[in-house]
Symmetry: C2
């Protein structure tokens, strides 16, 4: 590979309407497809969240709690099916904009243990990248060796793959400008933190505001906790607002963009 | 597991209209979902073919020939996307009829070598079966360690999984009554062979008629060649007409059904 890998995470609240079940934000999806295509960056892996596809059904059946009784089995199937549907919609739009997007289903090759990824065979991802494909993964309902099943967040996948595949950076596209000193959705005077070290993070941990809609995989705090190991490993992590036009394009190109940079 | 595994393969010409691109045979899909649900058989794995979803685009870009030039990359992505779409449609119908169907994407966990499955990690499939889920796989465009990419037929997946998971039987639902002494679609007086041993098969190999529409993965001859290793291993193989109502139900229940039984 000529340059080092970038992993782009697109939050569920960016690509779907979190308030309406199973409703994509088509306009945003098409704009992002165009931006990613225009940036023409390789090698690239895209990972997306569940938003109003995966989360409502996962929550209804308490999939994240693991297997408790047989009634959850359908919920498990349905959660994955909803995510496949969203993924398929993204892939079609990516292909339309000339991106060689290749869907890879997390639950088909990853099992967790107590919700955490243990071993992971990265051979298919590596081969796909070598061919110039853009693997597109997603937060998913996965089988779990300990608790039956689990919700595997796109954030965890991004961080684990970044280490496994020796990525240069993770770009997290979310629905706010980055990490703020209080929840920017509740507090209009919340201030953006443009750069934060892991040490600073631990110091101000109590103050960070999170995404408040329906995110069973944790809000901003959870995101940074997932990113921590990757940042410690040496991966650059940048959190940006993917709802603002050209932010994803600029981030991919390495241009200046408003957001939060997390460093060691 | 209480009883031994059955693998049900549903041919692409059964669940899609092979003459119209990207057109499912919804009526047949719903009927099959109802029959499988009524049979209430566990453990069960379902594998489906591509029909008018996977085959036209795979053929257009010569995916089965392996990687020749960059123009095929899109065809590879598109083939998989088309298969995902068909799979998603099946899963939704299976869930609707009360089947805990769980999609597993072959290209996300299987790489081939010269078109053949080498190693395959069956842990996720085993765990899914233990939970009472019905894994649903499909013929797919997969990455290939030798030739870049390949078309992996549902028939090959069925035979390999049958051995790996020590299945009791493979039921192949196709669009004719079974193996005939000539092509039943061309020759109305073609006679059904109700039972055939692998030895007999080798003797009369030249006479077998194949599915003639658009099957890049090989017709009847290819099917039997794929089944051979599984049958030699001790798996029962039954080829039936899944277009005839109640055939799949009866086969799952172990009742008499018109078709071809392949034995050692």
């Amino acid at each position: 590979m000529k340059s080092k890998l970038t992993i782009l995470k697109l939050g569920g609240s960016v690509i779907t309407r979190k308030d309406k079940p199973l409703t994509p934000n088509i306009q945003v999806i098409k704009r992002l497809a165009e931006e990613i295509s225009r940036a023409d960056f390789h090698p690239l892996i895209i990972i997306h969240g569940g938003g109003s596809y995966g989360h409502p059904v996962a929550k209804k059946y308490r999939i994240a709690d693991g297997f408790k009784d047989g009634s959850q089995i359908f919920g498990f199937s349905e959660t994955h099916e909803a995510m496949m549907r969203l993924n398929s919609l993204l892939i079609r739009n990516f292909l339309e904009y000339g991106l060689p997007a290749f869907s890879i289903s997390p639950s088909s090759f990853i099992m967790t243990r107590k919700g955490r990824i243990g071993t992971l065979n990265e051979e298919i991802l590596k081969t796909a990248l070598e061919f110039g494909l853009i693997p597109v993964l997603y937060g998913d309902a996965v089988l779990d060796a300990e608790q039956g099943f689990a919700i595997l967040s796109g954030d965890q996948i991004a961080a684990v793959l970044a280490i496994k595949l020796d990525a240069e950076r993770i770009i997290m596209g979310i629905d706010v400008n980055g990490v703020c000193d209080s929840d920017p959705k509740r507090n209009p005077s919340a201030r953006l933190i443009e750069e934060i070290s892991l040490k600073d993070f631990e110091r101000i941990m109590g103050q960070i505001g999170g995404s408040q809609s329906l995110d069973v995989t944790g809000g901003m705090l959870g995101k940074i906790l997932e990113l921590k190991a990757a940042v410690e490993y040496g991966v650059e992590a940048l959190i940006i607002n993917a709802l603002l036009p050209d932010n994803v394009y600029r981030a991919l190109k390495g241009e200046d963009v408003v957001g939060t940079r997390i460093r060691r």
